[in-house]
């Protein structure tokens, strides 16, 4: 039993004070101490004992008494003990200040402590323990540098002053110089090997901070050996175990942590770690309790911050964003620098995003980014915020940075893709694809959404096959496979029900046959997209089954109804389509898309009033915000304005105005709406402002090219219309043709009609008639086209007849055209008895009458023209005959000469033969040479097949020459007279061939009937006179062409008949020609024989 003895003054006696039984009231002891003038060290011992027993008041009372001025005076010489008392008080107040949470009292304590130390210093400037105390005070106040200088003063005096060493170690630790700190601790330990466990704790911490975990662990374990209840060491070891990140380690760590908690339940650090653990195990109730305790026991900023953070996280994960935000905020407030503890900023940022406070979130995430500039999650969060704030560029920048930092982060690429979708589909697709590859590399299934997005983008870019594959990949295995994989087609005969768009029997059958018809909710969209794609690929049958599959399972999926309706509309099955749209409307009677579609269908059904109502309803359903409905109403008004043939100018104006108003309304809502712009331009054009409308159309056309989803043939047509109206026919034609090819697969008879009309105005009659024929072929039941064709022919003929110069062929074509026109009109007239085709019978009759009149007039012209040509032909023929005769003569001459030569030769041969009979040596040689000659001659005489062949050959040669000579005569023909003639060269030839056999007609008659004929005749004669006609290069070219066509006509010209004349006549003529031809050849042949 420890006790002290207070020496009684002036005696040898001592008062024994049992330290375990100190009086409750310190005054008793004090009285004794004062009365006996006990040495000051006794005072200190007793005070310390009180302190140890937790009787702080008594402790203070004794020390305060011991440091009172009387004592100072009385014990003026005993400096060390006085200093010790003051230092003890200083240390006491330092401690109070350190643990005090309230700022004001804290400062008061520190002031008191400072006062005591100063007092101690005044007694002895050099007392090391005072300096150590001061140093510790300064440390407690956080004034590390000053503390350091205080400790250094001590250490300069005594290198091995343990408290100073420890203090300095602490300073260095706080400065982050762990190695120095470690050295100091080590020295302290060397100097004083029995120092308390705390020193080793310091070593452990330093080593931990230095990353020497094993040594740190040894140090902590040593601490625990010395002091098994040392909470800090336990906690430190536990933390190290937890950090090991292994299940076993974590478990061990938690055991230690729990022991620390049991030993001392108020260690904030331990509490925080426990809370952290329970957060991850999901025991939020425990988390809250632990952190609240931690908060109440500590005033250490970082620790509190950690506690708040734990609490906030707990609420965050529970979805209580408001509370989480508050605690994150509290946590953040406890942190002086984000570098110390950055997590709460991140959490706060997240919560703020959730709460929509993007600006604050932005600043928080930026703080996180300062600490971790390469943190992908933060970058992604920032990117997201910037996008939300509308700064897409910055958003892209961040997300791109994230993908660069971690090029294997599929999620980042996914987000990048999502960001890019609106601005740059190509880049978005790339990002998505990268994400997909990353997912695959990582062995994960790519999310359905990702595949769906890729598919849609590919679809949008027209890569249909890829898109199809992607969608199929997204869908994976399921009932749908049986509908589009060919292998299964036979087992499920889906085809039968492809047309019954509402038929669900197929699926019922499947179910009853034991197959599970299941469509997971997350695949519905993909199925829909796939079906949409199949539509685009024209596999509408399969598409319709897929839509129905969706409806079978999700009967509220309006879009599927609408697509089905669209398919049947494309097949022109309007009634079914309407029915389907009505099904959609049953699901949602106000669905604007369904209403718009219904309106459209009603328009198609010619149900104008109903359509208008429906479209209004659609427009109302969206408060006029749905541009489609508004546009449709605009279109309605436009069509209403131009619908009737008999236009009512007043009504037309109001309708047009209304249409314009509606288009403008859409334009205001969506300034880039192509259709509205198109509509507005149409109204402008309708009012005659072609330049304005042309500008708009051109812009719309430019904008509309590029996406598969924007197909705007209308704007092409409109542009063409404007060109047409401005008289720029060539451009209009080009535009119509391009439009037809690009959008309609050349199948739109209406556009063909526009084209024909343009040709008509451009007076390109043949093109016009051809185009109309194409249109009739495409739309056979459209009788208007026939009527138009009739009119075009009539107009063509009339205009030809009015021409100043024309050939017989032209006139002949005219006649044929008129005959066709008459036929068409009379057919129409006949048909009008049977059908209603919208035009007046009288009108047709008028046309018939006019055409017949023209026909009769044309016949006269035809005769004249033909006569004229006969003459030309005759002259040509005469010339040809002459040439032929000459040729024949020359040939005959040659032949005679040859025969003469041959005879002569033969004679000579005979003579030679006779002579050589005697010379037997050379007989053989001669025989062989004569043999061939003789054979030739005998062939000639016998008339064998070889001769025939030879003759034929000769004939051909002859004919070549004949045609050559013919060309010669042709040269004399006035080529420049009618350049148009070239086209119908064969016909002309034929005429020439037939005509030369006929009688000559008098020139005078010709002149009388056709004054133009005279001119032509004169021209002919002129050129006849000059052997070389004064023709330009063009005419020589044409002549050459003539020559070519001539020489091609080796065979009789029978094959190519004039297209405009009656069959029978033609045949006869060509037959005659052949006969004639043969006759001439025959003559030539006979000539040859002579």
């Amino acid at each position: 039993m420890a006790s002290v003895y207070i020496p009684v003054q002036n005696s040898e006696e001592e008062v024994r004070v049992n330290l375990d039984q100190l009086p409750r009231d310190a005054s008793d002891i004090l009285d004794i101490l004062k009365a006996e003038q006990a040495p000051l060290d006794l005072w200190l011992i007793i005070a310390r004992e009180y302190f140890k027993q937790g009787k702080v008041d008594q402790f203070r009372q004794i020390l305060e008494e011991g440091s009172s001025p009387e004592i100072d005076e009385y014990y003026a010489d005993i400096r060390y003990e006085r200093i010790a008392i003051l230092n003890a008080l200083g240390a006491y107040y330092s401690y109070l200040g350190k643990i005090e949470t309230k700022q004001r009292e804290k400062e008061e304590h520190f002031i008191l402590a400072t006062q005591y130390y100063n007092k101690a210093s005044r007694i002895d400037m050099h007392e090391p323990s005072t300096w150590v105390g001061k140093g510790q005070l300064l440390l407690a106040k956080g004034e590390v540098e000053q503390a350091s200088s205080a400790f250094k003063i001590v250490l300069e005096g005594d290198r091995d002053n343990v408290p100073a060493l420890l203090g300095q170690a602490c300073v260095e630790f706080n400065r982050g110089k762990y190695a120095d700190s470690l050295e100091l601790y080590k020295r302290a330990l060397q100097v004083y090997p029995n120092c308390p466990a705390a020193v080793r704790l310091g070593i452990g911490l330093c080593r931990y901070k230095l990353g020497q975990f094993e040594k740190a662990r040894q140090a902590f374990e040593r601490v625990l050996q010395l002091d098994p209840e040392n909470v800090e060491a336990l906690v430190a070891l536990a933390i190290m175990d937890l950090r090991s990140n292994e299940a076993a380690g974590i478990r061990k760590g938690m055991v230690k942590m729990q022991r620390a908690f049991e030993i001392y339940p108020y260690c904030a650090m331990a509490l925080n770690y426990l809370a952290n653990h329970f957060f991850f195990t999901g025991q939020h109730f425990l988390v809250e309790q632990l952190t609240e305790t931690a908060l109440s026991v500590t005033n250490h900023g970082p620790t509190k911050s950690h506690s708040y953070y734990n609490l906030a996280r707990s609420y965050h994960s529970k979805g209580d964003y408001d509370k989480a935000g508050v605690y994150y905020m509290a946590s953040v407030k406890e942190i002086s620098k984000p570098h110390e503890f950055v997590f709460p900023y991140y959490g706060l940022g997240q919560v703020q995003i959730k709460l929509g406070d993007f600006r604050s979130a932005l600043s928080n995430f930026e703080k996180v980014l300062e600490v971790y500039p390469d943190n992908c999650e933060t970058l992604k969060a920032l990117a997201y915020i910037y996008v939300q704030l509308g700064q897409t560029d910055k958003g892209h920048e961040f997300i791109r940075k994230a993908t660069k930092i971690d090029p294997r982060d599929a999620q980042a690429f996914l987000e990048l893709g999502e960001l890019l979708i609106l601005s740059d589909t190509g880049a978005a697709l790339d990002a998505f694809k990268t994400a997909r590859t990353l997912f695959k590399k990582g062995g994960q299934e790519a999310p359905i959404e990702l595949l769906n997005n890729i598919g849609v983008l590919q679809f949008e870019r027209g890569e249909f096959e890829f898109a199809k594959q992607t969608f199929k990949e997204a869908l994976g295995d399921g009932i749908w496979l049986s509908f589009f994989s060919e292998a299964n087609k036979s087992s499920i005969d889906a085809a039968t029900s492809t047309l019954q768009f509402k038929d669900m029997q197929l699926f019922h059958d499947l179910e009853s046959s034991g197959q599970l018809v299941e469509v997971p909710w997350d695949k519905v969209t993909v199925i829909f997209n796939l079906a949409r794609l199949l539509e685009q690929l024209n596999e509408s049958g399969t598409a319709s089954i897929l839509y129905r599959l969706i409806l079978f399972k999700y009967p509220d999926y309006i879009d599927a109804y609408l697509r089905l309706a669209a398919i049947s509309k494309a097949r022109n099955n309007i009634l079914l389509s309407i029915e389907l749209v009505n099904d959609a409307l049953k699901v949602n009677g106000k669905c604007p898309n369904a209403l718009s579609m219904l309106g459209e269908l009603e328009l198609k059904n010619d149900d104008w009033v109903k359509a208008k109502e429906t479209l209004r309803a659609a427009s109302d359903a969206t408060d006029g915000k749905d541009s489609y409905a508004t546009l449709s109403l605009g279109n309605w008004n436009y069509f209403a304005a131009v619908r009737n043939e008999k236009r009512n100018p007043k009504l037309e104006a109001t309708h047009l105005e209304k249409a314009k108003e509606l288009y403008t309304k859409v334009m205001i809502q969506h300034s880039s709406n192509l259709y509205a712009a198109n509509g507005a331009a149409v109204v402008f054009a309708e009012k005659g402002h072609f330049d304005v409308s042309k500008d708009i159309f051109t812009q719309v056309q430019e904008a509309a090219s590029g996406s598969v989803f924007v197909q705007m043939p209308d704007v092409w047509i409109n542009l063409a219309h404007v060109y047409f109206a401005q008289g720029n026919f060539a451009l209009a034609v080009k535009m119509y043709q391009n439009c037809l090819r690009k959008f309609y697969h050349n199948t739109d008879s209406q556009v063909l009609l526009y084209l024909a009309r343009t040709y008509y105005e451009a007076e390109q009659w043949q093109d016009c008639i051809k185009t109309l024929q194409r249109a009739i072929h495409l739309a056979p039941s459209n009788y208007t086209l026939r009527f138009d064709a009739g009119v075009a022919m009539q107009k063509f003929s009339a205009s030809t007849l009015q021409k100043a110069k024309r050939t017989a062929d032209e006139v002949r074509a005219t006649v044929a055209g008129l005959q066709n026109a008459v036929r068409i009109f009379s057919q129409l007239s006949a048909a009008s008895n049977l059908h209603i085709h919208g035009f007046d019978e009288k009108k047709i009759d008028t046309h018939v009458g006019y055409c017949t009149h023209l026909l009769s007039a044309a016949k006269v012209h035809l005769e004249a023209a033909e006569r004229e040509e006969q003459q030309i032909r005759q002259r040509q023929e005469v010339a040809r005959q002459v040439a032929l005769a000459e040729e024949a003569r020359r040939k005959a001459e040659e032949q005679r000469k040859i025969q003469m030569d041959r005879r002569k030769h033969e004679d000579e041969l005979k003579i030679v033969q006779k002579q050589e009979e005697h010379f037997k040596r050379v007989k053989e040689q001669w025989k062989s040479s004569t043999h061939s000659k003789r054979r030739e001659r005998s062939d000639d005489e016998d008339g064998g097949t070889a001769e025939k062949k030879k003759r034929k050959g000769g004939k051909r040669r002859k004919k070549d020459k004949h045609s050559k000579s013919h060309n010669d005569t042709e040269e004399m023909e006035p080529g420049e007279m009618e350049p148009d003639m070239m086209d119908e060269q064969e016909m002309e030839d034929e005429d020439a061939n037939t005509n030369y056999r006929e009688e000559l007609q008098t020139d005078t008659k010709d002149v009388e009937e056709n004054p133009h004929g005279l001119l032509a005749l004169a021209g002919l004669e002129d050129s006849d006179a000059d052997d070389e006609p004064a023709a330009g290069p063009s005419s020589t070219i044409s002549r050459r062409r003539q020559a070519l066509s001539e020489s091609d006509d080796d065979e009789p010209i029978m094959k190519q008949q004039s297209p405009v004349r009656e069959n029978s006549v033609d045949m006869e003529e060509s037959d005659g020609e052949i006969r004639g031809g043969e006759k001439t050849h025959g003559d030539a042949a006979s000539d040859e024989e002579k």
């Binding site: 060919e486 049958g541 097949r571 024929q773 036929r823 049977l834 085709h837 004039s1058």
Partner: protein, 321 residues
């Protein structure tokens, strides 16, 4: 099954080629290919090299249809002016000129025995049957008028007859109309039997399977080819795939495949077992108006041939195997 291009003749005609048919082989010559065009001519082509044999003139407007007699010696061509010219294939001598106003003339087909020429009568909503010996009309098969709920249709009767097909036994005629309905007639009794429904856009081409007198294929502007049981009034199957109007259809002589031509400029070959398109030929540059399989027979027993004609003025010949 497979198509392999053999020969293509560009500018085979001066303008769009609208019609094609094979004149079967006769004792003296192999089969010939007949094509009709907007240039108002019918041209005759021989051998795999598609050598132009003859050019027949005589029509005043574009030639919309050509048909060949099963014996191969005579053929008929018709143009938009609704004249039918019947001619001798080998000599081009006119045998008859047919006209039946106010009936127009669209598609024509000789019956399998060759005794009747069926002519789709357009707006007259009827098919005219001409006796091939006398060239007189023997019957007019009219589609009964339906008292439609909407008499206001602008194009008059929608039963505008475009196409016609004979069943292989010669007992039935099917005709396709603008409104997409197909009408089936009993030839012997000259009686309308029933409609086949499913299309709602013009049916421009029809063909019966050569082996199954009930199986009918139809090509329509809705982009689909339908398979019907023509007797049972049932739609058996739908084949979709063309991007635009299907203008023509023909069935292979072995009955295993059909070929279609479309406005989307392609010729497709369809496997009837799979009911799927097995091949797409894209050699034409404009709409394909006609496809025709060469009929078997003659001493020319080589594998099958398919010809296609197009608005791009060209003719293509393929080997079908």
């Amino acid at each position: 099954m497979k198509l392999a291009g053999i020969k293509s003749v560009d500018n085979a005609h001066d303008d769009s080629v609208w019609a094609v048919t094979w004149a079967p082989a006769t004792a003296t010559r192999p089969p010939l290919l007949l094509t009709g065009s907007l240039d108002e001519t019918v041209r005759v082509w021989k051998s795999d090299e598609l050598i132009l044999d003859r050019t027949n003139t005589g029509h005043c407007l574009g030639v919309a249809s050509v048909a060949a007699h099963p014996l191969g010696s005579i053929a008929a061509s018709s143009s938009l002016d609704s004249f039918v010219r019947v001619f001798d294939v080998d000599t081009n001598s006119t045998i008859a000129t047919l006209e039946a106003p106010p009936s127009e003339v669209w598609q024509m087909r000789f019956d399998p025995k060759g005794s009747i020429l069926a002519v789709a009568g357009g707006g007259s909503a009827s098919v005219n049957l001409w006796d091939t010996s006398t060239w007189e009309i023997v019957a007019t098969l009219s589609i009964p008028r339906v008292d439609g709920p909407k008499p206001s249709d602008k194009s008059g009767s929608k039963k505008f007859v475009l196409s016609v097909a004979w069943s292989p036994d010669g007992k039935r005629i099917a005709c396709g109309s603008m409104d997409g309905t197909i009408s089936v007639f009993d030839v012997q009794r000259a009686k309308f039997l029933h409609h086949l429904e499913g299309h709602f856009m013009p049916v421009r081409s029809l063909v019966y399977s050569p082996y199954d007198p009930r199986l009918l294929f139809s090509a329509s502007d809705d982009g689909n080819v339908h398979m019907y049981d023509a007797e049972g009034k049932a739609l058996i199957g739908t084949m979709s795939g063309h991007a635009s109007w299907v203008l023509c259809v023909d069935v292979s002589p072995d009955g295993a495949a059909i070929a279609t031509g479309s406005s989307d400029r392609t010729v497709r070959l369809w496997d009837l077992n799979m009911r799927a398109s097995v091949q797409t030929m894209s050699n034409h540059t404009d709409q394909v108006w006609g496809v025709a399989f060469r009929p078997p027979g003659g001493n020319d027993v080589r594998s099958g041939r398919l010809a296609s004609v197009s608005d791009d003025k060209s003719i293509s010949l393929y080997d079908y195997s």
